[in-house]
C-alpha cells in the first residue's frame, strides 16, 4: 500500500492546515473567540455545525488516497501497484463497494428490479425477478424473513448508536457549566447522527439501503463518495473566486473613476458571454489538453482530479462577477460614510482603509453570498455534468448521480432512489451550510443582541 496525494488533496490539506494554524495562533484572542462561542451557544448554529462537521469528516476521509500493492508476480521483482486509487473511505466501505448487483434494485430489495430468464427449481426457464447477489442474500425466505430481519438489525443498530453516544456523553458531555441551548442541541444532533450511523452500519452490509444504480453499484456508497466532490467544488471555487470578488469589487467602489471603469468593463464583458457556454468552452479546452497528454497522469483518478481542479478554477474565474458587483455597490455607499471620510482625514492609507473600514463592513454580504454560491455551485456541478462538461464521468458526484437518474425517471415503475439519495444528501449539506452561515453572520454582527 502506498499513499497517493492528488493535487486536490494537497490543496484541501493545505487549507485545513492554514485554518488550524490560524485557530492555534489566535486561540487567545477573546474578541475573536466570543462570536464563535456565540455561534455554538445558539441552537441552530450548534446543530448545523455538527452536521457540517460530519460532511467535512467524510470528505476528509475520502481525501486520504492510496494505491494497493499488487501481489508480486515473481519474487524479487520491484513492487507493482494497482492503477486504481482508493481512499480511506473506500477501505471503510469495502462491503458496500464490493457488493455489486447486476443492475437496478430498489432500496431494501431482495430481488432485482428487472425480470430475467431464471431457471426455476423445477428446471423450467421462466421470466421472473431474480434474487439479488448480495442484498438480503442471507435471508432463507425473502418474503417472510424480511421484516423480522430488518427490524431486528435496525433495533440493534439503533441500540449500538445510542450506546456509543451514551459513552461519548459520559466521557465528554458532563463537563460543568455546559448548560446552554447550543450544547443540548449539539448533543441531540449528535444522538441523531449516531442513530443514523448505527442503522446504516447494521443494515448497509446486508441490504442496499438506497438501492443500486444501472450497473448495480450501491447508491449509498455513491452518495457518500459524492460528498467530497461537492465539498471540493463548493470550497475550492469560492476560494478562487473570493480574492477576485473582494479586491476588484471593493476597489472599484472605493476608488471610482478610472479603476472603476476598468473593473466594470472587465466584468460586464465577462457577464455578457453566456456563462454555461464560456465554462463549456474552457472545460473542453482543458479536456483536450488532458486527453492529448495522458503521460501527465499516472492514474485515472489523477486525471479526474485534474479535471475537477480545472472546473473549480474555471467556475471561480467566471463566477466572481456577481459578488464583485454587489461589493462595488456597497463600497460606493460606504466610501461616502463619514467614518471613511474621518479615516481619510487622519491620513490613513488606502490599503488600510480598505482592510479596516470597508472589508469588515461588507463581510456579512460576503458570507451570505458565499453560502448561496456554495449551494449554487454544488447544484451547478449537476447542471454542467448534464451538459457533459462537468467533472469526469468516472468521478462520483451528485451531478453524475442525477444525470444517471434522469433518464430512468421516464421508466414505469419509476427508478426514484438515485435522485432521492442525491437530493437527501445535497439538501442536508446545503441547508446546514445556510443555517450555519446565518448563525455566524448573526454572531459577527456587533449590532445583534447578545
Amino acid at each position: 500500500m502506498k499513499p497517493v496525494i492528488l493535487w486536490s488533496d494537497a490543496l484541501l490539506f493545505l487549507m485545513l492546515a492554514v485554518i488550524l494554524l490560524l485557530v492555534w495562533l489566535l486561540r487567545d484572542q477573546e474578541s475573536l473567540r466570543a462570536p464563535w462561542r456565540r455561534v455554538m451557544r445558539g441552537r441552530m448554529g450548534a446543530a448545523s455545525a455538527v452536521i457540517l462537521a460530519v460532511y467535512v469528516g467524510i470528505g476528509l476521509l475520502d481525501s486520504l488516497h492510496y494505491v494497493e500493492r499488487l501481489p508480486d508476480a515473481e519474487p524479487g521483482q520491484a513492487a507493482q501497484y494497482s492503477g486504481e486509487v482508493r481512499s480511506a473511505l473506500d477501505a471503510l466501505l469495502t462491503p458496500l463497494r464490493e457488493q455489486v448487483e447486476k443492475t437496478y434494485s430498489a432500496p431494501f430489495a431482495t430481488h432485482l428490479y428487472v425480470k430475467e430468464a431464471v431457471t426455476g427449481p423445477d428446471g423450467v426457464d421462466i421470466r421472473d425477478y431474480p434474487r439479488l447477489r448480495h442484498g438480503g442474500a442471507h435471508l432463507v425466505d425473502p418474503v417472510a424473513g424480511f421484516w423480522p430481519d430488518v427490524t431486528w438489525r435496525g433495533l440493534l443498530g439503533l441500540l449500538g448508536g445510542g450506546v456509543a453516544w451514551g459513552l461519548l456523553w459520559l466521557t465528554l458531555g458532563r463537563s460543568p457549566g455546559s448548560a446552554s441551548p447550543g450544547r443540548s442541541a449539539m448533543w441531540t444532533t449528535l444522538l441523531a447522527m449516531f442513530c443514523v450511523t448505527g442503522l446504516l452500519v447494521a443494515l448497509a452490509p446486508h441490504y442496499h439501503v438506497f438501492g443500486t444504480d444501472k450497473v448495480g453499484q450501491d447508491v449509498l456508497y455513491l452518495s457518500l463518495k459524492s460528498i467530497r466532490t461537492g465539498l471540493m467544488i463548493g470550497t475550492l471555487t469560492t476560494l478562487i473566486m473570493l480574492p477576485f470578488a473582494l479586491t476588484l469589487g471593493i476597489a472599484a467602489g472605493y476608488f471610482g473613476g478610472f479603476i472603476d471603469d476598468v473593473i466594470q468593463y472587465l466584468y460586464t464583458t465577462l457577464n455578457s458571454i453566456p456563462g454555461v457556454l464560456l465554462i463549456a468552452a474552457a472545460v473542453l479546452v482543458v479536456q483536450v489538453q488532458i486527453e492529448t497528454h495522458p503521460q501527465w497522469f499516472e492514474t485515472a483518478a489523477a486525471r479526474g482530479d485534474a479535471r475537477l481542479l480545472a472546473l473549480c478554477a474555471i467556475l471561480g474565474l467566471t463566477g466572481w462577477t456577481g459578488l464583485a458587483r454587489l461589493l462595488r455597490g456597497e463600497a460606493l455607499k460606504l466610501r461616502e460614510l463619514e467614518f471613511v471620510q474621518a479615516a481619510r482625514a487622519f491620513g490613513v492609507r488606502h490599503a488600510r482603509i480598505l482592510a479596516r473600514h470597508l472589508l469588515p463592513n461588507v463581510m456579512h454580504l460576503v458570507l451570505i453570498a458565499l453560502v448561496i454560491d456554495f449551494s449554487g455551485l454544488v447544484l451547478a456541478e449537476a447542471v454542467l455534468s448534464y451538459v457533459g462538461v462537468g467533472v469526469d464521468p468516472g468521478m462520483n458526484s451528485f451531478g453524475n448521480m442525477i444525470n444517471g437518474a434522469r433518464l430512468e425517471l421516464a421508466r414505469e415503475p419509476v427508478v426514484w432512489w438515485q435522485l432521492a439519495a442525491a437530493f437527501v444528501f445535497m439538501f442536508a449539506l446545503v441547508l446546514s451550510a445556510n443555517l450555519f452561515a446565518d448563525s455566524v453572520r448573526e454572531a459577527l454582527d456587533p449590532k445583534a443582541k447578545k
Binding site: 471620510q341 482625514a345 487622519f346 492609507r349 488600510r352 469588515p360
Partner: protein, 619 residues
C-alpha cells in the same frame, strides 16, 4: 365637542416579560381652528401618539387603553374600512421627510388625484380642477400639476404633500415635524402656510416638534412630553412665561443663545429613559434638579395648577418659584463661566484661506466632455485664530461642507490657497500632506455614520494616532485614548465597547475624542449638534467650549442654527451659493446685518417673534 379629543391614550408593544410602553396616559384636545403643539425630545413618544391617532401603528404595537374622539366618534372603535375613509379625510397627517413621502413615479396631479378620488369622489377634469385649486391654496402654480417629485425642491414637495392632505378637507391635520428636514427660510414659509391654512379652513392642527421656537411661533397650547407622558400642558404664552415643570424649565435653560455667550449652558444630565423602563415614581426623577423623596416612590398625577395649565409634578408652585425666577443658577455648574473668548490676538491665524474654489465638472455625452461646471465653492477667503471660533452659516447646498472638505484636502480645490499655521497646504503632496493632517481634524454631523460599527471605541480613538503619530507605542496610545475618553466625559470601559452601545450624544463625544487624539490645531465641526436633542446639544456645546479653552483650538463651526452661532462663535461668515456674502463679529452681525440675505436668514429663524408673542423666556 368639535375637534379631536384624546383621552388617556396608552400604546404598548406587548412583550414576554416586559411590555414597551412608548405612550402612557396621554390626554389633550384640539378644537376647531386651534393649534396644539406636542413638544419633546426624540424617543418621548410624540410620533407614536400621532401614529396611534391615525391607527397606523407599527407592527406589534397596539393601543392598550384610551379614546380618541373626532367630533364625538371614537376613532379607535372604528373598523379598518371605516378608518380608511377617515384617514386623509377628516383626519390627515403630513410627515417629516418630504423626499420619501411622495411616490417618485407619479406626477403631482396623480398623487393629489388619488386623495380626491378617495375622499371627494372626483375624477377626470373635475379632479384636475380641484387639484389645481389645492395647489393654489399651498401657493404653487398650476403648471406644477404635471411635475414629478424629483423636479420639485424640498419645500415644494412639502407643499404638495400638504395639498394632498387638504384634498380630504380634514378637520384636524397632524403635522409630524413638518419642517425638520428643511432650511430655515423654507421652514418659515411652510410654517406660515400651515398657520394660514388653519385659519382659513378652521382646521385643528396638531404640531409635533422638538423645536421650542417653532412651537412658540405656531401653537395656541403647548403640551410637553417626556418618556411617554405629557408632563406639562398650558396655553402658549403662559407656558413660555412661567414654565412650572422642572423638565420644561430645563428645556428652556439649555437653549444656546446670543445672550448666553460666555456662560456655561445649563445642562440636563443623562438621557430620555428607554421605553421599557419601569418607573416607580416620577419619570423625570432621575434627571430632575429638584427631586425629593416623594418623587421616587409616587408617580405624580396631572393636576390643574392654574386655569388650563396642567402639570404632572409633586412640587408645589411656591417651591417651584425660586428656581423659575432665576433659572440657570439652579445648579452650581450653570454659574461657572468659561473664560471670555480670547481677545483678538496679534498672532498669525491658525487657518488662512484665500480665494478657495471647488468646481465640479458636468460631463455630458459619450466622450464625457466637460459641458459646464458646478461652482460649489467659488472664491472663499477666511481666517481663524487660535482659540477662536468662526461660524460658517448657510442653507443646505450652499457649499459649506464642500468648503470644509476642500480645506482638509479630502477634495482637491480647483483654485485658491490655504495656509495652516503659516504653511501653505496647496503644494503638499503624499507623505507631507499626510503628516499635516494631524493638525486639522473634523467632527461630522451624523454620529451614527461617523463611527465604524465594526471597530471598538478604543480602536476608533487610536486609529488617528496609529496613522499619524507612529512614534507613539501601543501603551502610550492606549494611555492617551484613556485620557481623551475621560476628557470628553465618558467612562473608561467605553474603550472596549462598540459604537452602537452609545447614544447619539455619546457617539459625538467619541468622535470629538478621536479628532483630538492627534492634537490638531484646527477642528472643523460640521453641524456637530444638529442631529442631537437640545439637552444633549447643550452638553456637547459645553464640552466644545471647555476643550477649546484647554487646548487653544481654532474651530470652524459649520451650522445652519443661528442660536448656536450666537452662543458659540466669535466671528460669523454667511455663505450663499458658494460665496461668502457677509462676515463679521458675531454680535454685530446678528444684531445689525448689512446684507439682505443675512437679514432674511435671521428673520426666518423660528422664535424671532418671541418678543412680540410673549414676555420672553424666563432667564
Amino acid at each position: 365637542m368639535k375637534g379631536l379629543v384624546v383621552d388617556n391614550l396608552r400604546v404598548e408593544f406587548p412583550g414576554g416579560e416586559r411590555s414597551l410602553v412608548p405612550v402612557d396616559g396621554v390626554s389633550f384636545a384640539i378644537g376647531a381652528n386651534e393649534c396644539v403643539a406636542l413638544l419633546g425630545e426624540s424617543g418621548c413618544g410624540k410620533s407614536m401618539t400621532a401614529l396611534a391617532l391615525m391607527r397606523l401603528l407599527p407592527e406589534g404595537a397596539r393601543v392598550a387603553a384610551g379614546h380618541a374622539r373626532l367630533d364625538g366618534q371614537d376613532l379607535l372603535d372604528l373598523s379598518e374600512q371605516a378608518m380608511r375613509a377617515v384617514r386623509g379625510g377628516r383626519l390627515a397627517m403630513i410627515f417629516q421627510e418630504p423626499m420619501t413621502s411622495l411616490n417618485p413615479v407619479m406626477t403631482v396631479a396623480e398623487q393629489i388625484g388619488e386623495a380626491l378620488a378617495m375622499h371627494r369622489r372626483l375624477t377626470g377634469a373635475a379632479a384636475r380642477r380641484a387639484a389645481a385649486e389645492l395647489l393654489k391654496a399651498v401657493d404653487l402654480p398650476p403648471e406644477r400639476l404635471d411635475a414629478y417629485p424629483f423636479q420639485l425642491s424640498g419645500g415644494q414637495r412639502q407643499r404638495v404633500l400638504i395639498a394632498m392632505m387638504l384634498a380630504g378637507e380634514p378637520e384636524v391635520l397632524i403635522a409630524d415635524e413638518p419642517t425638520t428636514a428643511l432650511d430655515v427660510t423654507v421652514q418659515a414659509q411652510i410654517l406660515g402656510l400651515l398657520d394660514q391654512l388653519r385659519r382659513q379652513r378652521g382646521m385643528g392642527l396638531l404640531l409635533i416638534t422638538h423645536d421650542l421656537d417653532v412651537a412658540r411661533d405656531m401653537a395656541d397650547r403647548v403640551a410637553v412630553m417626556y418618556a411617554g407622558e405629557i408632563v406639562e400642558s398650558a396655553p402658549r404664552d403662559r407656558l413660555y412665561a412661567s414654565p412650572r415643570h422642572p423638565y420644561t424649565r430645563k428645556l428652556f435653560a439649555v437653549l444656546p443663545r446670543l445672550d448666553r455667550r460666555g456662560e456655561r449652558l445649563d445642562s440636563l444630565p443623562g438621557r430620555v429613559p428607554p421605553a421599557d423602563a419601569v418607573f416607580p415614581g416620577c419619570r423625570f426623577a432621575e434627571r430632575c434638579p429638584n427631586v425629593f423623596a416623594r418623587c421616587r416612590t409616587e408617580a405624580p398625577a396631572a393636576r390643574e395648577v392654574a386655569p388650563g395649565h396642567w402639570l404632572r409634578c409633586h412640587l408645589e408652585p411656591e417651591e417651584g418659584r425660586p428656581a423659575a425666577a432665576n433659572p440657570g443658577s439652579g445648579d452650581v455648574v450653570a454659574s461657572v463661566l468659561t473664560p471670555a473668548p480670547t481677545p483678538p490676538s496679534v498672532e498669525s491665524p491658525v487657518l488662512e484661506v484665500r480665494d478657495l474654489a471647488v468646481h465640479f465638472p458636468i460631463r455630458k455625452g459619450l466622450l464625457r466632455r466637460v459641458a459646464g461646471r458646478i461652482k460649489a465653492v467659488d472664491g472663499v477667503s477666511l481666517s481663524i485664530r487660535s482659540g477662536e471660533t468662526l461660524a460658517l452659516v448657510g442653507e443646505s447646498g450652499c457649499g459649506k461642507t464642500t468648503l470644509a472638505r476642500a480645506v482638509l484636502r479630502l477634495i482637491e480645490p480647483t483654485a485658491g490657497e490655504s495656509w495652516l499655521d503659516g504653511e501653505a497646504l496647496g503644494p503638499l503632496r503624499g507623505e507631507a500632506l499626510r503628516r499635516k493632517r494631524a493638525k486639522m481634524q473634523i467632527v461630522f454631523q451624523d454620529p451614527f455614520s461617523s463611527l465604524n460599527p465594526r471597530l471598538r471605541v478604543g480602536e476608533i480613538v487610536e486609529e488617528g494616532m496609529a496613522a499619524l503619530l507612529p512614534e507613539l507605542d501601543a501603551r502610550t496610545r492606549r494611555d492617551r485614548a484613556r485620557s481623551l475618553i475621560d476628557q470628553v466625559g465618558l467612562p473608561l470601559d467605553a474603550l472596549d465597547r462598540y459604537p452602537h452601545e452609545f447614544s447619539g450624544g455619546q457617539r459625538q463625544r467619541i468622535a470629538i475624542a478621536r479628532a483630538l487624539a492627534v492634537e490638531p490645531r484646527l477642528l472643523i465641526l460640521d453641524e456637530p449638534t444638529s442631529a442631537l436633542d437640545v439637552s444633549v446639544q447643550a452638553q456637547i456645546l459645553n464640552l466644545l467650549a471647555d476643550l477649546q479653552v484647554r487646548h487653544g483650538l481654532a474651530y470652524l463651526f459649520i451650522t445652519h442654527n443661528l442660536s448656536v452661532v450666537g452662543y458659540l462663535a466669535s466671528q460669523v461668515a454667511v455663505m450663499r451659493a458658494g460665496r461668502i456674502v457677509e462676515t463679521g463679529e458675531t454680535r454685530t452681525l446678528l444684531t445689525n446685518p448689512r446684507e439682505d440675505y443675512t437679514r432674511t436668514l435671521l428673520e426666518s429663524a423660528p422664535g424671532r417673534n418671541r418678543t412680540r408673542a410673549g414676555t420672553g423666556v424666563a432667564g
